[in-house]
């Protein structure tokens, strides 16, 4: 995996893909599958919506760290499988063939099989709405990943994989951040 400038992290969250969030609670790694995320700013700030109903919630609150791992479509099935059970009684890494790798800054693991991994600190938790505010601190990309298509949850158990690309860079020129 290669390091990517922090300012490029949002490019992998802005499209609204299914993501994997890893945590380490001091004893065990865990991972959850989620689509309720959004970009908060161009400098690797993100929002994540979750709460006590998810096993990862306690680790997020306690450690204030996680990794947002972005799977490409080649691991769509195991990503969805990881979202269909709980870390409270399952070692999802083992069960679904996901490989935890040591991150550089946070103690939550990177996922070897993911296209992009963003190490994140929890900056704030808006309790009233269940919104975690994350600050990316390190970004890794696996450019050797043959499949670079992200995939998106419809919410009814079906998913769509990125298809045709459209290029409107000329129209958007004045709106793009420098270097993007």
């Amino acid at each position: 995996m290669q390091k990517l400038p922090l300012e490029k992290a949002f490019l992998y969250v802005e499209p609204g893909p299914v993501v994997l969030i890893t945590t380490f609670d001091g004893k065990k790694n865990n991972v959850m599958t989620i689509s309720w995320t959004m970009v908060k700013d161009f400098d690797a700030q993100f929002c994540l919506l979750t709460g006590p109903w998810n096993h990862s919630y306690q680790a997020l609150v306690k450690t204030k760290e996680c990794v947002m791992a972005i799977p490409a479509a080649d691991i769509a099935r195991k990503t969805v499988q990881a979202g269909s059970c709980s870390g409270s009684d399952t070692d999802k890494f083992k069960k679904f063939g996901l490989t935890p790798l040591k991150a550089e800054i946070v103690r939550a693991p990177l996922i070897k099989e993911c296209f992009v991994n963003i190490e994140c600190k929890v900056e704030d938790y808006v309790k009233k709405h269940g919104i975690f505010v994350l600050q990316g601190v390190n970004v890794w990309i696996n450019n050797k990943n043959k499949d670079k298509r992200l995939f998106h949850a419809v919410g009814n158990g079906t998913f769509t994989v990125d298809g045709k690309k459209l290029n409107y860079r000329k129209i958007m020129q004045s709106k793009l951040p420098a270097g993007i």
Copy 2:
């Protein structure tokens, strides 16, 4: 356009598409293009990230109403064009051939050319983070829209259109809300 049960609104935001947000400030309609949204709950609650740098912000704060309109890929170009200028000096509906239609509950307009339109009330504004919390109150779908593919911003001026579909309903069965 047909009305859709409120509980189905999230199906069109969960995939992370580019959306159009319309407002009516008491004098003029306006529309902005944005990708910084996420689902907040299954009952048509959404988050939207924006602030004073957008012309629509004042109308959102003042009227506490908007429409989240979801374009299909057939109007991708005009959706991006609407995001490349400001309502402060441009009637974007006129300029880009978007047709405002009277909504039922809110005063912000629906967009005729959009696949789905969600009438929303602003429930809260988390000033510290610039997060609007929206509650959908009415959902419209244009089932006659030939193009039902949503499209997603990469953030660099390129976009991806929904391609191949994956069906993991069996894996997710226990996680799906009733009726979805």
